[in-house]
Symmetry: D2
Subunit: 147 residues, 4 copies
Amino acid sequence: MSHKKEISRQADYPFKVEIQTRWSDNDMFGHLNNVIYQRFFEHVVVAFLNGPCAMDLLNAPVITFAAESQCRFLRPLSYPGQVVAGIRIDHMGRTSARYGLALFEEGQDEAAAEGHWVHVFVDRTSQKPVPIPDTVRAVFDAHRRSP
Amino acid sequence: MSHKKEISRQADYPFKVEIQTRWSDNDMFGHLNNVIYQRFFEHVVVAFLNGPCAMDLLNAPVITFAAESQCRFLRPLSYPGQVVAGIRIDHMGRTSARYGLALFEEGQDEAAAEGHWVHVFVDRTSQKPVPIPDTVRAVFDAHRRSP
Amino acid sequence: MSHKKEISRQADYPFKVEIQTRWSDNDMFGHLNNVIYQRFFEHVVVAFLNGPCAMDLLNAPVITFAAESQCRFLRPLSYPGQVVAGIRIDHMGRTSARYGLALFEEGQDEAAAEGHWVHVFVDRTSQKPVPIPDTVRAVFDAHRRSP
Amino acid sequence: MSHKKEISRQADYPFKVEIQTRWSDNDMFGHLNNVIYQRFFEHVVVAFLNGPCAMDLLNAPVITFAAESQCRFLRPLSYPGQVVAGIRIDHMGRTSARYGLALFEEGQDEAAAEGHWVHVFVDRTSQKPVPIPDTVRAVFDAHRRSP
């Protein structure tokens, strides 16, 4: 039995999108700037909420605020490559959820970066926490981390 | 005895810089986009390394790669306010260090966000880990978290 | 009589703001990326509209859409320097205005970049052009290019 | 005979790329922020120089500096749509060239934005203007604006 932390693979993430890198994503060292990794996490989170979860973040009465973000950088990514970003639900509470997130160099099965975001669901007007809408909860359930 | 996590204060961070927000830092919800918090962490980290640590990241033979980043969002920040960003050394190994980081709304003593970055020091050419230079190590020692 | 185009000077711009550069504003060639110059033009335009013009872009019934932008790059700017950005009114129509814009390296009197933006004033809801509000028009008049 | 300025069409641009929009490209008014248009111009310019022109901007002895940029905004673009960006050579001198540039909403034949960039070719080390390399000049010739 090993305690070595496993690097996650593409199959560990049930929803994935391709992200096009931009020249301006690279930093002065010729790799994707590490802040851009969070930008790519945002991309897959928004694609997941607007897509399968059908949330319509621009107009919906319930929106999401970030409570926490984290990223471990495992290998460099660079423009002009394509990046695959994956998301899964690691934990779901009443008013918040924790997403497991990863970035992959196109064609590679081992993650180049792993991390998570915690989102709190809030009323757009009052900005107070509200229960995760049932329709969203059902989609989250279908995208939980496999045991 | 309380287990409640304390919110850090400005005095907990021995090196601080002011950061000017930009209109484009706000997201469609009218607050600083959460990815921008990482951009502000980058700002204070670079100011610390180029300033007190005298590293000259553009030309030095030893540069830094991010290994991990993390942020907890405690209260919203918005353009056009000024933000104060603070850094301290939470842990120092042979080739890597962990920085404690925080952002404050100007004039507020409780952090609006807290987090950390882990930097690995690498040779600019080989990109292999190398010991933290002695001059940098001395400055890190002087900026350790107070006990 | 010379036809040589004059490089504009700080005194040619009646409203100016200081802009803090960021590490991420530099491109892989070690200078401010040229797209960032437009970001800095945006900074002074928004500061002028929200400040002296008292427009409150986030809530006002009349907002502005860009119709045209232009920039000539005269000398490089770089992080970590401060940049001074200036604005003046070059032309004012019924529903639109043309701003003259310039960026200066701190402490330099000759512009590092010159350009202009044309803004159309539109109703926030209908997004149709509307007359420039009288209060804004008065401030524009006071910031016209000197003859 | 009409003096009305024609809006350019996709066929007017011999080299085109698709650009994926990002959530963060939208501004607080729900459209692509106008500075992002310049980012998209940069995207197609770099794709053209690194692609057909085989310039390898990261390592080549000759690099390019922007001397001028311009954009006219004709209709709004928004996340999450795809954008088509086109480039053609409008003018070529000894050490500089002017690119005609346009952005199109996917599936639309009339441009959403038109503009140009002027690039000066410079020696990477001395940063002095140098003649456009012959191999690049040949590709530019093949991408000139049709008469």
